[in-house]
C-alpha cells in the first residue's frame, strides 16, 4: 500500500505539471490545436484528483491495517485507537495534513473543471492558477514531507498513538472544515488572478467568485467555531479562544474574506473598489498560505502547532513567488481595475462599507502584528516578548465594538448620500433601544466604571441591541410591504421577503448571528473560577452553585485509563444533577488529557475540571469555572452559518414576478432603485 500511495503521488505531480504547462501554452497561443491542448490540460487536472484520491485512500488503508512500517502511521496511530480516529490520522500530522490539503485542492479543481462551461476561457485561466498551487503542494508531499516514508528496520509492533488532545469527536471534523475553508480560498484567488490576467470584461467573475468565497468563508467559520468548541471542551482552561498563534492564523484570512464579502457588493452595485477587492482576494489567499506556514514552520510557538520542520522555506518561497505574480499582473493590467464611480458623501452606504473594510483590515493587521511581535522583539531586543490574551483583548475589543457599530449603521444609510433628516429618522429607535438597555443593565447592577471589561461588556450588549433593532426593522419594513400586497401574515411575509432577496436577508441573518455572538463575548467579563481540594463529602461554592464530592473512581479502557470525580451539584440548596469531570491517561502516548464536565444553560456554563491529585496530600483537586453566556457564542455561530446558507440559495424569481404583475407601479420603483438591494 505505501508503494502504491507513493506512486500515486508521483503520478499526481506529473499530471499536475502537465495541466499547468499545457494550460499555459493553450492560453498563450489560441487556436484549434490550443483548444485541444487546453482540453487535455483540463482532463489532466481531473486526473490529478483521481491520483491524489488514490494516495489519500492508501494512507487511510495503511492506518486501518496498522501498517507501522509507514513512519507516519507509526507516529500518529496505534492498534487500540478507535476507527474514526484512525481515519482522522490522515490530517493529524504534518505529512498527512499536507496530503489532505493537496487532495482537497484537487477536489475543488475537479469541481471547477467539471463546471468549465460556465465560462470556458475564464475557467481555463483559473484552472492554470489552481494547477500552479496544486503543483506546489504536490511537490511538498513528494519531496519535503512524504507521507509514505518507511521506518528504518523492521516494522514496530505498535504505534505511538494519536495525540490525546486530538482524540475527541470534534477533532474528526474540525480540521477538514478549516482546510475546506483554507484550501477553498484558492478558488476565488484563481478566478481573481485569472480575470486580472485576461482583463475579463464585466463583473461575471465577481458573481462566480462571490459564491465560492461565501461557501469557503462558511467552512472557515465552522472550522474556527469547532476549534473554539474543541478548546473549550478538551483543553480544560475554561475558555474557547486563547489568541494562540494557530488560532490567529485561522482568523487572519477569515477577516480579509469577510471584508471582501462586504466590499464586493460595492463592485457589483456601483462598479467601485475593484483594485481593493482584487487585493482583498489576493491577501486572503496569501494569509491562508501564511497561516499554514506559521503552523508548520516553528516560527512562533503554539500549543497546537505541528512539529518544527524545514518546510517553512518552501512556504516562504511560494509566498514570495505568489506575491510577485500578483504584483506583476496588477501593475501590468492596472487600467482594467479603474473605478466606475466615486464616493460622494461621508454619510452613505458606500462609506460605511469602506470603513467596515478598513476596520476588518486593521483587525487583521492587529492580529498579525500581535502574532509576529515576539519574533520582531527577539530580532530587535534579543528577547522574545510574550503577546498573549491581555494584549489581544485590549487591542481587538475596541475594534470589534466599532465593527459592531458599523454593522448596525450600514443598513440605515442610503446609497450615494444620506440626509441628516433620514439619518435622524432611521437612528432614533435603534439608538433609544440601545440606551434603554444600557441604563437597565446599570440599574440591574452592571458597573461599567469599575472595570474596563465591564464597560466593554455594557457597550457590546448595547450595540448588539442597536444592531438587532436595525436588522429587525429591516425585516419588518419589507414584510409589511409584502403583507399589504399579498395579505400574508407577517411571519410568512418575512419568509417570502427572505426568499426574494436571499443574499440581502441572509446577510441580515448573519448580522443577527454576530449580535448573538457579541452578547456571548460580553459574558466573558463576568467569568468566575475557583480551585479547591475536594475530599469525599467536601463542599465547594461557586456563584449560585454548591458542589459536593460524592466519590472518585477509576475506569480502564483499551486505549486509556480514566480517573473521574462524581460530584453532586446544587443550586440554592436544590439538587440539580451529578457531574463527572474526568482525567484520562493514554497508554500508547503516555499522555494525560482532561474531559471537562459542563452544565450549559443560556445563562451560564458550570464547567468542571478534574485537575488531578495534590502530590503532597493526595487529595483530588477540582477546578470550577462559571462562564456566563457561552451558549450564546455557539448559538451565534449557528445563526451565522444558517444566514450564510440562506444567502447561498437562489432568489425566488417567480413569486417576485407574480407580485410585480399585481403591483406594477411598485415594481417600477423597485427596478429603478435595484441598487439599494443590499
Amino acid at each position: 500500500m505505501p508503494q502504491f500511495g507513493s506512486f500515486a503521488l508521483l503520478l499526481a505531480l506529473a499530471f499536475g505539471v502537465y495541466a499547468l504547462g499545457a494550460g499555459i501554452f493553450a492560453l498563450l497561443r489560441p487556436g484549434l490545436a490550443a483548444d485541444r491542448l487546453g482540453e487535455s490540460a483540463r482532463r489532466a487536472g481531473i486526473a490529478v484528483f483521481v491520483a491524489v484520491t488514490a494516495a489519500a485512500v492508501a494512507l487511510v488503508v495503511a492506518a486501518f491495517q496498522d501498517d507501522f512500517s509507514v513512519a507516519y502511521i507509526f507516529h500518529h496511530s496505534n492498534r487500540d485507537l478507535p476507527l474514526p480516529y484512525k481515519f482522522s490520522a490522515l490530517w493529524s500530522g504534518q505529512e498527512g495534513s499536507l496530503l489532505f490539503w493537496a487532495w482537497l485542492l484537487s477536489a475543488y479543481g475537479f469541481v471547477l473543471r467539471l463546471r468549465h462551461k460556465v465560462d470556458p476561457r475564464l475557467v481555463a485561466h483559473a484552472a492554470v492558477v489552481l494547477s500552479a498551487v496544486q503543483v506546489f503542494f504536490l511537490m511538498l508531499v513528494n519531496f519535503a514531507a512524504h507521507p509514505f516514508s518507511m521506518m528504518a528496520g523492521p516494522a514496530p509492533a505498535d504505534g505511538n498513538g494519536l495525540n490525546p488532545l486530538l482524540q475527541y469527536p470534534e477533532m474528526v471534523i474540525h480540521p477538514p472544515m478549516l482546510y475546506l475553508g483554507y484550501v477553498g480560498m484558492t478558488v476565488p484567488f484563481a478566478f481573481a488572478l485569472g480575470a486580472l490576467i485576461m482583463k475579463y470584461p464585466g463583473e461575471k467573475w465577481i458573481h462566480i467568485t462571490r459564491r465560492w468565497t461565501m461557501v469557503t468563508w462558511m467552512f472557515l467559520t465552522v472550522g474556527i467555531f469547532l476549534g473554539g468548541h474543541w478548546a473549550y471542551s478538551v483543553l480544560g482552561w475554561g475558555g474557547y479562544w486563547g489568541w494562540d498563534p494557530v488560532e490567529n492564523a485561522s482568523l487572519l484570512p477569515w477577516l480579509t474574506g469577510t471584508a471582501f464579502l462586504h466590499s464586493v457588493i460595492m463592485q457589483e452595485k456601483r462598479g467601485m473598489l475593484k483594485m481593493w477587492n482584487m487585493w482583498l482576494i489576493f491577501a486572503t489567499f496569501l494569509l491562508c498560505i501564511f497561516g499554514t506556514f506559521l503552523t508548520r514552520s516553528g516560527v512562533v510557538s503554539s500549543v497546537h502547532a505541528f512539529a518544527q520542520s524545514s518546510i517553512g522555506t518552501w512556504f516562504v518561497a511560494f509566498l514570495a513567488l505568489t506575491l510577485v505574480s500578483c504584483v506583476f499582473f496588477f501593475i501590468k493590467n492596472y487600467s482594467y481595475l479603474k473605478s466606475e464611480n466615486r464616493l460622494e458623501s461621508l454619510i452613505s452606504r458606500e462609506s460605511s462599507f469602506l470603513f467596515n473594510n478598513l476596520l476588518f483590515l486593521v483587525a487583521c493587521f492587529a492580529v498579525l502584528w500581535g502574532t509576529l511581535f515576539p519574533v520582531l522583539s527577539e530580532w530587535v531586543q534579543g528577547t522574545k516578548a510574550t503577546v498573549g490574551a491581555p494584549f489581544f483583548n485590549r487591542v481587538m475589543i475596541p475594534i470589534g465594538l466599532l465593527l459592531l457599530f458599523l454593522t448596525g449603521v450600514g443598513p440605515l444609510l442610503a446609497w450615494r448620500k444620506t440626509s441628516l433628516e433620514s439619518l435622524k429618522r432611521n437612528f432614533t429607535i435603534p439608538a433609544v433601544a440601545a440606551g434603554v438597555i444600557a441604563v437597565a443593565l446599570m440599574i440591574g447592577g452592571m458597573r461599567p466604571w469599575q472595570d474596563i471589561s465591564y464597560f466593554y461588556a455594557l457597550m457590546a450588549v448595547a450595540l448588539a441591541v442597536f444592531v438587532a433593532v436595525t436588522v429587525g426593522s429591516e425585516f419588518l419594513r419589507g414584510a409589511r410591504v409584502i403583507r399589504s400586497h399579498t395579505g400574508m401574515n407577517l411571519a410568512a411575509a418575512m419568509v417570502q421577503l427572505t426568499r426574494r432577496n436571499t443574499r440581502r436577508y441572509g446577510g441580515y441573518i448573519v448580522h443577527f448571528g454576530v449580535v448573538v455572538l457579541f452578547i456571548g463575548f460580553a459574558g466573558y467579563a463576568f467569568n468566575q473560577d475557583k480551585e479547591q481540594e475536594l475530599g469525599l463529602g467536601d463542599k465547594m461554592d461557586i456563584g449560585r452553585y454548591t458542589l459536593v464530592s460524592r466519590s472518585y473512581t477509576r475506569d480502564f479502557q483499551p486505549n486509556y485509563e480514566s480517573d473521574y470525580a462524581i460530584l453532586d451539584v446544587y443550586r440554592n440548596g436544590t439538587f440539580l444533577q451529578t457531574m463527572y469531570p474526568e482525567r484520562r491517561f493514554y497508554t500508547a502516548s503516555q499522555q494525560d488529557a482532561t474531559m471537562v464536565a459542563n452544565r450549559s444553560t443560556w445563562r451560564e456554563d458550570l464547567y468542571l475540571v478534574y485537575a488531578g491529585r495534590n502530590p503532597d496530600t493526595d487529595r483530588p483537586i477540582i477546578r470550577a469555572h462559571l462562564n456566563p453566556l457561552v451558549v450564546w457564542v455557539w448559538a451565534g455561530v449557528y445563526i451565522v452559518v444558517f444566514g450564510t446558507l440562506v444567502a447561498l440559495v437562489p432568489n425566488l424569481q417567480v413569486a417576485a414576478a407574480k407580485v410585480r404583475a399585481t403591483a406594477p407601479e411598485l415594481a417600477a420603483v423597485a427596478a429603478g432603485s435595484r441598487e439599494g438591494g443590499d
Binding site: L343, A385, T386, V387, S419, E421
Partner: protein, 164 residues
C-alpha cells in the same frame, strides 16, 4: 451653599449636595482597595505559566505542572505579605524573565506593540475620510442634489419597496 428661609435647602442646593454625595460615593467605590482574591485573579491573569505551555498562569491546567502551582503559591505569598502590584510583577520578571508577562510592558521598544495597531487604525480612518472628501470635491457637478425633499421622498419610497 446657602440655606434659604426656614432652614430648608433650595432645589439647586439639594441638587448640588446630591451630586457631591454621588461623587464622594463613586470615588469611594473606585478608590477602595481591591481584595486579595481580586488582586490574585488580576495579577494571575497578567502572567504566563513558565512551564512553556503558553497558558495564562491561572489557566494552566497541567497535572503536576512543576511551575504553575509554585508560581501561584509565590503570588499568594507576595499578596499576603502586602507587596504592591508593581513589586509583585517586578519580582516575577526578575525570577522568570520578561516572558512571564502575558503582554509586553508599555515601555521601550515594547511600546511599539501597543501603539502600532491604534496608529494604523487612526491613520486608516483619517486616510479614508480624506479620500472620501477629495472624491466628493471632484464629484461631477451634475450629480443630483439628494437633499431635495422630492428626491429624498422617492429614495425613501424606493428603499421601502426594494424588496418588491
Amino acid at each position: 451653599m446657602k440655606p434659604v428661609v426656614g432652614g430648608r435647602w433650595s432645589v439647586s442646593c439639594r441638587l448640588k449636595r446630591s451630586a457631591q454625595v454621588m461623587v464622594v460615593c463613586m470615588a469611594a467605590i473606585l478608590l477602595m482597595g481591591a481584595g486579595d482574591d481580586a488582586r490574585f485573579n488580576k495579577l494571575g491573569h497578567k502572567m504566563m505559566c513558565a512551564c512553556g505551555c503558553r497558558q495564562i498562569l491561572l489557566e494552566c491546567n497541567h497535572v503536576g505542572c512543576s511551575y504553575s502551582d509554585r508560581m501561584r503559591d509565590e503570588l499568594s505569598t507576595a499578596l499576603t505579605r502586602g507587596d504592591s502590584d508593581d513589586l509583585v510583577v517586578q519580582a516575577f520578571v526578575q525570577k522568570y524573565g520578561p516572558t512571564v508577562l502575558a503582554a509586553p510592558p508599555a515601555t521601550g521598544f515594547n511600546l511599539v506593540a501597543w501603539v502600532m495597531p491604534f496608529a494604523v487604525l487612526f491613520s486608516a480612518l483619517g486616510f479614508a475620510v480624506l479620500v472620501v472628501l477629495r472624491w466628493k470635491q471632484r464629484a461631477p457637478a451634475a450629480a443630483p442634489d439628494s437633499t431635495s425633499p422630492e428626491l429624498e421622498a422617492m429614495r425613501l419610497r424606493a428603499r421601502r419597496e426594494t424588496e418588491l
